[in-house]
């Protein structure tokens, strides 16, 4: 008897958009942390080694600038890359049917069920299939990036786009929303990368475009 082969496929365009988004989000986070450190809104700062913007001592010695100039330059460069790749990814996800096919349906019951199973380490991963928690996480992170972009515009252009700022409860409100959405994205990234390392074939699929795996034998005990 030949085993059933589970398969995950990612078309080239999706893979390119995914990795460009991933890189630009990492740049946005690293440079954003450096900018945050210049004027923190909460009683903590990020360790300098985790921030992006070059050597602080060097910038101070050469420019009298605490390394913020380069961080802002990174932030305002990568934002274009992120916005373009995000719009591309969203359009592609909607038009190709990928979102509807793979990220839906997702209801509260299935999320509860899969969440409980996941927390008990009973949730089986099957290549090419997304469980309810995963679906919700993908919708969530895509929504967070949208919030990030909108609150970012409100902070970048609080005069030219003033009504947008009011949507976030003012300039300071937009900064806080921008921070919280960042925290959500970082949380997603940690879980996303950890799960990828647990099931490396999913990473293979996102790199090479296709990964297969013989389906695990389903016994009545762990049937879904």
């Amino acid at each position: 008897m030949t085993p059933i082969l589970d398969e995950q496929r990612h078309p080239l365009a999706r893979r390119i958009a995914h990795w460009i988004m991933a890189l630009s989000i990492l740049i946005m986070i690293g440079s954003g942390w450096r900018i945050y450190n210049a004027s923190p809104i909460f009683p903590f700062t990020f360790p300098e080694w985790a921030t992006l913007g070059g050597d602080v001592e060097w910038a101070l010695a050469r420019h009298g600038d605490p390394g913020v100039a380069t961080a802002i330059a990174w932030h305002f460069a990568a934002m274009w890359v992120l916005v373009v790749s995000y719009i591309f990814f969203m359009l592609m996800g909607v038009l190709s049917g990928h979102f509807w096919r793979d990220f839906l349906p997702v209801g509260p019951r299935s999320v509860m069920h899969d969440m409980i199973a996941a927390l008990r380490f009973r949730l089986e991963h099957r290549l090419g299939e997304y469980n309810a928690v995963q679906k919700l996480a993908y919708w969530g992170v895509l929504a967070l990036v949208a919030v990030m972009i909108l609150s970012g515009i409100a902070i970048w252009k609080p005069v030219q786009t003033y009504p947008l700022e009011r949507l976030f409860g003012g300039f300071q409100g937009a900064r806080i929303v921008h921070f919280i959405a960042m925290a959500g994205i970082v949380l997603f990234l940690i879980v996303h990368v950890a799960l990828t390392l647990l099931v490396p074939r999913t990473l293979l699929a996102m790199v090479a475009g296709r990964a297969t795996e013989p389906r695990h034998v389903v016994t009545p005990g762990n049937a879904r």
């Binding site: 990492l26 740049i27 690293g30 900018i35 945050y36 210049a38 004027s39 809104i41 080694w49 985790a50 921030t51 992006l52 913007g53 070059g54 050597d55 060097w58 910038a59 420019h63 009298g64 600038d65 913020v68 100039a69 380069t70 802002i72 330059a73 990174w74 305002f76 460069a77 274009w80 902070i155 970048w156 252009k157 609080p158 005069v159 030219q160 003033y162 300039f171 300071q172 900064r175 990368v193 990828t196 390392l197 490396p200 990473l203 293979l204």
Partner: protein
């Protein structure tokens, strides 16, 4: 663990390590700085296009204006240059018809308006203040500046220098601010006057102005020379 799986793990780890090292290694590299400068020039163009010549910065009730405004410079407030009102002359240069220097009394006799607007620092903090003075546009017209030129530049007594695009210079809320919180601008805030531009970041609001010039060549800026974006509109 299969060989493929091991390789994937190693690949994942080196991606992680790469992003950690990016901060120290790549940012200060010349080619990276050139790439970032290219994006910054693109951002200048986008911001110039976004800028609404008649779109006003939000104004606030006077009660919200902070009386004890935050001091901000790369030197301490006691190092701020003390300009003597009797000796002070504002010098004019470039594409201006009447380049006669101006005294403090002459400047302070100009028609004045007040605004309660928000100062937004590039670092992220913001503060609402009340400034009073002459719209730069009124002054530029009075001295016969060629307002078809592209830029207005400023020299300052503390060694600072800045420049702005002509549309911003002609914006109704761009002021030569003589007063902060209804009091003559104190020394540390830029006596005898500062340029107050509520449509730009704080560092584009130079203090202790000693010269104004009109030009078609983009003026350099103190912080722009240190890597910050030139237009820096908000």
């Amino acid at each position: 663990m299969t060989l493929a799986r091991r390789q994937m793990l190693r690949g994942g780890l080196s991606v992680g390590a790469l992003t950690m090292l990016t901060g120290c290694d790549l940012s200060d590299h010349d080619s990276v700085q050139r790439m970032l400068a290219g994006f910054s020039r693109w951002n200048d163009r986008v911001q110039a296009a976004l800028f609404g010549q008649q779109r006003l910065a939000p104004t606030f009730p006077e009660a919200l204006a902070v009386k004890d405004f935050r001091y901000n410079a790369w030197y301490g407030p006691n190092k701020a240059p003390r300009l003597d009102a009797a000796d002070y002359r504002l010098l004019l240069a470039g594409k201006i018809a009447n380049k006669k220097p101006w005294t403090v009394d002459e400047l302070y006799a100009l028609p004045q308006v007040s605004q309660v607007t928000r100062h937004v620092c590039v670092e992220g903090w913001s503060m609402i203040g009340k400034w009073s003075g002459t719209p730069l546009r009124v002054f530029l017209e009075r001295i016969g500046a060629d307002t078809t030129s592209r830029y207005v530049g400023f020299e300052c007594a503390d060694g600072y220098y800045e420049g702005i695009d002509m549309p911003t210079a002609l914006h109704p809320q761009t002021l030569m601010a003589f007063r902060l919180s209804d009091e003559i601008l104190p020394t540390k805030f830029g006596f005898p006057f500062k340029i107050r531009i509520p449509t730009k970041l704080g560092f584009k609001n130079p203090k202790f102005i000693t010269a104004i010039y009109v030009t078609d060549q983009q003026p350099r800026g103190y912080w722009t020379d240190r890597g910050y974006n030139w237009f820096s509109g908000i």
